[in-house]
Amino acid sequence: MSTLTETEAPPPLSPTTEETKPPRRRGRFTPYWLLLPGLLWLVVFFALPMIYQASTSVQQGSLEGGYKVTWHFATYWDAFGQYWPQFLRSVLYAAAATVGCLLLGYPLAYLIAFRAGRWRNLIMILVIAPFFTSFLIRTLAWKTILADNGPVVHTLHSLHILDLTNWLGWTAGDRVLATPLAVVCGLTYNFLPFMILPLYTSLERIDGRLHEAAGDLYAKPWTTFRKVTFPLSMPGVVSGTLLTFIPAAGDYVNSELLGSTDTRMIGNVIQTQFLRILDYPTAAALSFILMAAILAMVTIYIRRAGTEDLV
């Protein structure tokens, strides 16, 4: 699942054998034939739709009378003006869920990589296996776990944690369901494996002797972690945070199932505009803003994470 870092890596040199062999006429076009069907699929069903959407976002008209391109860029401005709270909320919830995933996922990835011993494979299976139960069913289970009279809410209440979260605005009125906390909790849960797997991949590559060396040089365990382990796991942290943040920012399932109208994210708005209100230009503009915002944030993030001292 460490897909993001791997695709960032420079393309490998093709084995030199192909070059040293006498050129075969038959092989010259082989790569193009291999690429053609798949790339055609991506161009027609991924790239082309983006162009259609861009065009839709500057159209005006009605469902009955049809739409025409009028270069009506005001749609963008209106859409953003009306729905900026949902945009902001999406970014905040997704950021909170990403931090939550990192804090929860790192110890588990570390445990699997260094401490699990012969339990390693079993724990890996337990991390991946929930994937095979539909995530909607698992998200609905949180409705039971966080139910108003359930043990979780009861415990949080008697420990006065709910008072604190109420004060912070994360929960309201002694409930967890239908509050931002429930949505963030659901997002964290749903995308946690996408954090754990890349973290594990990069932790597992670390040479165990580096830990010994740090210990020999009188580094305390925490110092070893801070100076050796964590910096070396940065590729996993970067791709893990991206794999969590991007889908979380566009998600509307958790907000719909665990939240309320006060927790609506931009995904909810796009979905409603597209499938219920059928205001295609606004929906297209919103989804374009979301795409641009995420691509911009991801680019800045990769640049920063790439240039900062990784070792």
Binding site: T7, Q53, Y280
Partner: protein
């Protein structure tokens, strides 16, 4: 303070196991509530033990139909994405060609795009083309977003492959086709299998893109989504539990087989 020291040394283990519990808790709830006999239409509060749902897993109208549609789409999407993705992966690793950067970003972008954006734009395309939304539009969408994941999985495997193995095959007078079928393909197989498995899981569980492009076709995730509004039948939990168990059993079985084989070879 021996207890404090003990806790300190095991802090990572304890924190990791707590995370594991957080990950597995919903599955435990799903399993327990598959034995529930709810009073109202919703299966969120525990009432009493019952085996009814397990005795009649298809007792709910349309649920097993949606399950079968999801399985069909997942199988075809897996086949489509695996074939197309494997071809791209081989081209990327084994050949030099123009516009490699453009190809790489075309493969990377679908993975870096929020699902809503892809779903909405694909719907715009289908609406503009006047396509009939349904089974085939879902299938087209699923092949599209599974493709990139197959490419990445297969690419990683083919890249780590020793090219000398193929040279050896050629030196031993194997033709190109023979080399590919007897040497290259078997070595690449784990990567291809990983890509296929991932495709199946992604397609079977996809909701957002399917929801936009399904028309009136109902897949299993869409059935669950609808039931969250209308009332959740216990049978949903039965299916969820069964899928979890089958997944764990298959993985355990394949692990035992691989272990045996490696021991046998050693």
């Amino acid at each position: 303070m021996p207890l404090v020291n003990w806790l300190k040394r095991r802090l990572v283990v304890i924190a990791g196991l707590l995370t594991l519990a957080y990950l597995l808790l919903p599955n435990v709830v799903v399993t327990v509530f598959s034995f529930n006999k709810p009073k109202g239409r919703f299966n969120y509060a525990w009432q009493q033990f019952s085996l009814d749902a397990w005795k009649q897993p298809c007792g709910v109208a349309d649920m097993c139909g949606s399950l079968s549609i999801s399985l069909q789409i997942a199988v075809w999407a897996t086949i489509g994405a695996t074939v197309l993705g494997t071809m791209i992966a081989f081209a990327l690793v084994r050949y030099r060609f123009r516009a490699r950067g453009a190809v790489n970003s075309l493969i990377f972008l679908p993975m870096a795009m929020p699902e809503v954006v892809m779903a909405a734009s694909l719907l715009t395309l289908f609406l503009n083309m006047g396509a009939q939304l349904g089974f085939y539009t879902i299938l087209i969408a699923h092949i599209m977003f599974c493709l990139s994941f197959v490419v990445t999985a297969v690419k990683a495997r083919v890249m780590s492959m020793d090219p000398r193995l193929e040279e050896a095959a050629r030196d031993l007078y194997a033709g190109p086709l023979q080399t590919f079928l007897r040497v290259t393909l078997p070595i690449a197989a784990p990567g291809i299998a990983a890509g296929a498995l991932l495709s199946f899981a992604l397609s079977f569980d996809d909701f957002i893109i399917t929801n936009f492009n399904a028309g009136s076709t109902v897949t299993f995730p869409m059935f669950v989504w609808g039931s969250a509004q209308r009332g959740t039948p216990v049978q949903i939990n039965v299916i969820g539990t069964a899928m979890f168990l089958v997944a764990v059993l298959i993985t355990l079985f394949s692990m035992v087989v691989t272990n045996r084989r490696t021991k046998h070879n050693a």
